[in-house]
């Protein structure tokens, strides 16, 4: 990162820190108008540093090597497809996956936040799905928290030398699930239960999302592994450049 970029990043972190001090802070797609205003603003501000870092990281990566745009577009398109498919689940209701695991593994969590927010804005404006006021909260859960966990798990699996495909599976699987956990917590913070407060409320919301999302999270893990196998077969040079594969194999 250049000096100027670092300054902007620092500034955005500072702004976020200011807001994080506000005690009650208040996430998969929370519906339009369903979060009180202060929570909307707070989550938006917290997401800001990630978006700024992500923007610069994408810019720098492309400057370094223009050809990476193919993989980046792939990761972005993957999110587009996956998050548009509503899939029936065992609980009798439908939900959709996030698709952010692939991008997080290839480009890191911050870059994905940019890809994720594009999808979220698309859905909020054209589909009335999610919402502009809850964009900050949804960005944080789907495009930041989930990918962040995926990325950490992927790095961890690499360090422990676990089979790469197994690692990719668990990174995508748990990243998806974590997105919904964060959503539950975000909703719980805004709507604490009358008795028991935030914790009880969080468990209740989780009770709605988790059983539906569990099989879908497994599905997301599988699809991500499939696409990684495809890329490994056909896009070796690109994967080596982003550091996913080593030159030798």
């Amino acid at each position: 990162m250049s000096k100027k970029q670092k300054k902007v990043v620092l500034f955005s972190i500072w702004v976020a820190a200011m807001f994080a001090v506000t005690p009650a802070v208040n996430a998969m797609h929370i519906m339009e108008g369903y979060l009180p205003v202060k929570y909307c603003i707070a989550w938006g501000v917290i997401s800001l540093p990630f978006l700024v870092v992500g923007f610069f990281s994408i810019k720098n990566k492309l400057k370094e090597n223009r050809k990476q745009i193919t993989l980046l577009a792939m990761a972005g398109a993957f999110i587009f497809v996956i998050s548009s498919l509503k899939i029936p689940s065992v609980t009798g209701s439908c939900s959709h996956m996030t698709g952010t695991g692939l991008g997080a593994i290839l480009f890191g969590p911050c870059a994905v936040s940019i890809l994720g927010i594009i999808v979220l804005i698309f859905q909020a404006i054209l589909l009335a799905h999610g919402g502009l006021t809850t964009l900050g909260a949804n960005t944080f859960s789907m495009a930041i928290a989930g990918p962040l966990l995926s990325f950490v798990l992927y790095k961890l699996g690499n360090k422990l030398k676990i089979n790469k495909r197994v690692t990719v599976f668990f990174a995508a699987f748990l990243g998806d699930l974590f997105t919904y956990c964060v959503t539950s917590i975000q909703l719980a913070l805004a709507y604490p239960s009358a008795e028991g407060g935030v914790a009880v409320s969080a468990i209740k919301f989780l009770g709605v999302f988790a059983p539906t999302q569990l099989p879908l999270a497994v599905l997301e893990g599988i699809i991500t592994v499939l696409i990684v196998i495809a890329l490994e077969t056909y896009a070796k040079p690109e994967l080596i450049k982003v550091g996913f594969m080593k030159e030798a194999n």
């Binding site: 398109a77 996956i82 548009s84 689940s89 065992v90 709507y191 409320s201 209740k204 599988i222 699809i223």
Partner: protein
């Protein structure tokens, strides 16, 4: 390569099963969105009907909720954009590998 193929096929079968099994086993289920279940939960937890303070831009623009058919159209557009980009790039990759392999064997 053939080991890859078996993995891919097994994974595809599992993926399909995950989608199909609920549909078959849960006959008569509604398959509504879990986002909506979330709003019901909000009412239950907070103990009062919550009045959303902001309506989606599109609904304001249309003056009401979007018809179901139109909504599925928009979702298809989203899928279409995504699949289009992926297929284009993947096609280039596949073709390139063919050329590279050919050059290497020469």
């Amino acid at each position: 390569m053939s080991k890859n193929k078996t993995t891919v096929i097994i994974l595809l079968i599992i993926a399909l099963l995950i989608i199909i099994v609920p549909v078959i086993t849960m006959k008569g289920a509604e398959f509504g969105g879990s986002d909506d279940a979330g709003s019901v939960m909000v009412e239950e937890v907070s103990g009062s009907v919550y009045e959303p303070w902001f309506t989606p831009v599109l609904e304001t623009f249309l003056g009401g909720e979007m018809p179901g058919e139109l909504e599925s159209l928009m979702f298809c557009v989203q899928t279409g954009i995504g699949v289009g980009i992926m297929a284009f790039i993947m096609g280039r990759f596949v073709e390139r590998k063919k050329w590279l392999d050919k050059e290497n064997t020469l």
